[in-house]
Symmetry: C3
Subunit: 306 residues, 3 copies
């Protein structure tokens, strides 16, 4: 049975309201993660626009970022060290406040700075390249390759993870159109994967853009391609609901159940999620997440939580 053993940490939120947790609350949430078998946390990004998760001299100087009140990267690594959890460091995402080419250059300095500051932590176990791409933004693949190679060379070859999305470019009601769409998807991703081969070790596609009855076709293609290019096929089982008027609340368990089973059937080696703390945690401000945690525990054969 495929279980969720990794989660993003959505510090530096783009579109999810912040919990305003301090160290005590984060520690408690890491414990709730570990209680269901999560062994890996992935910082979604170390900075976004003007906001930073650590006091980066590089980003304050080169991108005009604000000095943060606290260093949450250090805090996450401390907790992860204590708890034997693996931490992946996410790069900076400018989200358009500086030109893309410049953000690619700055991120190289960020990668060096981050490894200097945090590489000594025993829980520092990998890198996450924060820019999300689909087949429509082929330009980003070269940046992935550069960042991945740099990060690996600095860190004695620590693994590099990406989590792209499946671009849902056309209506899929017509089976022939759907088939053509899948062929185009495969073609584009061959191009991307050949570009990033050697620089990226793990690919975990987001699973929330495709209707459930089409998902298996896409995950089969993805799994086959990823293995063909020598990478690990993980799935990012999104735990928020994309089709509700409130953007975004925890997903209905049944949808997560279907998505996990499809990922398992298509051979995913590991499931991670975006993300535990808001959408699946018994500590979430969204109480629907407490129910999702309970339903998931039943599914995973774990006893009822206290």
């Amino acid at each position: 049975m495929l279980k969720v053993t990794g989660t993003f940490l959505d510090e530096i939120s783009f579109d999810i309201p912040h919990h305003n947790w301090g160290r005590k609350e984060w520690k408690k949430d890491f414990e709730a993660m570990q209680a269901i078998g999560i062994d890996t946390v992935i910082l979604i990004r170390c900075g976004m626009k003007h906001f930073l998760a650590y006091p980066s001299k590089v980003l304050m100087k080169q991108a005009g970022c604000y000095e943060p009140e606290t260093d949450v990267v250090e805090m996450f690594l401390d907790i992860a060290d204590e708890m034997n959890i693996n931490f992946f460091f996410g790069t900076y995402d400018a989200f358009g406040i500086i030109p893309f080419e410049r953000s690619v250059e700055i991120n190289k300095d960020v990668i060096k700075e981050a490894y200097d500051l945090y590489g000594h932590h025993k829980s520092f176990k990998g890198w996450y390249l924060a820019t999300e791409i689909s087949r429509r933004k082929l330009g980003a693949a070269e940046a992935y390759a550069e960042h991945g190679m740099l990060a690996k060379s600095l860190s004695n070859n620590l693994p590099v993870l990406i989590s792209p999305f499946i671009a849902n470019l056309q209506s899929h009601d017509d089976p022939e159109l759907a088939r053509q769409e899948q062929i185009a998807h495969e073609k584009d991703w061959r191009s991307i994967l050949s570009t990033i081969q050697g620089a990226v070790d793990i690919v975990a596609f987001q699973d929330g853009h495709i209707p459930i009855h089409e998902l298996e076709n896409y995950l089969n293609i993805n799994g086959r391609l990823i293995r063909e290019y020598g990478m690990q096929y993980w799935t990012n089982c999104e735990t928020f609901d994309r089709d509700m008027p409130i953007h975004f609340f925890p997903i209905k368990w049944e949808k997560m159940y279907h998505k996990l089973r499809i990922a398992e059937r298509t051979g995913a080696e590991k499931a991670i999620t975006f993300e535990f703390s808001h959408f699946m945690s018994p500590n979430s401000a969204y109480i629907q997440a407490h129910g999702l945690y309970d339903r998931y525990r039943e599914y995973a054969g774990l006893k009822e939580r206290d």
Copy 2:
């Protein structure tokens, strides 16, 4: 005093994020319902698009629906049996994934299947026709008539409920335009009610589409017409707020108070709500609902909850 004695169950959510409750949480919520006098629960629909509330062979085969992980219809009926609560079964709503005419045909098989599977439950006490209509979708009335007649004939004449909305077609600032609008509303609904006479027993209009200062005019028309066609006039006192940027959170008590009093003055025989568990329950993930429950208890003369 008109009290809320029925509620929809929003399993198979269209636009309300799911609580991810299991049997234990649902049982507890049925208890909170019963504690304020709710004696009737109405399944809003047994399926929507590809999702099902019970493992319907009809819908998996004919509409391509997904096999659900659990049978919540059975669960609701079990709890209702235990607690002496009346259960109304809601039909399937394709929401456009199959043509309307075809969904009308499929729903006939659904009604038969559902009565075969669940008709033996002592709490199975009625039918709810899930498609919501207003006067602009006159075509749906014929489907109501067909489904209502079939359901009644199968089930020894169990009552059939619909809960349409009042189409708010024009601005109502001008009193003369408002009056014309009301006349058009009455004319259209005469046509609909004459079509469904004999097939539908209860009409509970949604009360949230009309400003409070116009609502009494509409409910007076509705009550008069419904009685004229020999049906029961109930009200669906919506407990969510339609005029907030967050779609949808619990309503402000004062609005519910005004709406209940208007329904009472216009002779409503029973008030139901869409819906207790999210918007009015002390167990809701929306904590504003806990306050609404408390305010409603004060209004209904019930002692403070523990």
Copy 3:
């Protein structure tokens, strides 16, 4: 250190779902306010459209408002009396259901009625003029002047507060455009402040419309102008997040931290917030607010809450 010592009360909600609190819950929330040093509460408005916070004969008769179930103004004043908290009374906001000129006239009767009904309360310590203006609605300044003069003359010169917003009319990426924008802002506000001089005592600009890296420039201008016209410069440190898809949830603490520090550096005499109960309270239905309360307490040097 600049601390938050005042809050709006968002009774008669425009766009924030209501908590459905009764007196017991409000009392508890006033205690949570006082525990962090809040000494002033400001009723955001006494009525909006058809809804009223007190049974105003003026507004029921002249604006067609609904008779409210309870008198929350009396309730707030009672609690404020008990707890030695200052209460500012907010005027009526028609939000377009009657013409602006007429609402200006009606508000004069509202001010008289409110002082007749509630002026004897020892906690009745000031007035808040509810219409929010920016430099684009210069017409409102004359109404402020009329209402402020009337309110002060009736009430032995109690202070009058306004809380306008900074109109963000143009993109600010270009430094020269940003500078021109600031000059235009200063010019318009000189005109407004000269119009309301003598009628308004306190100006607390909303701080959420301007990016943090531009905020200091604007607050410097505002502070200088407000003092020049002999008024008190307060800041309205908004505690909700304007840049999330959910409108509106509690702000990330880091943003509040930056805004408070900028207000302090620019000489603000007092910080109030819109608003404590939803966005910063340990009693809020938004659990993110509980975290904000905790982070703010740490910042303010207060011990951990129980």
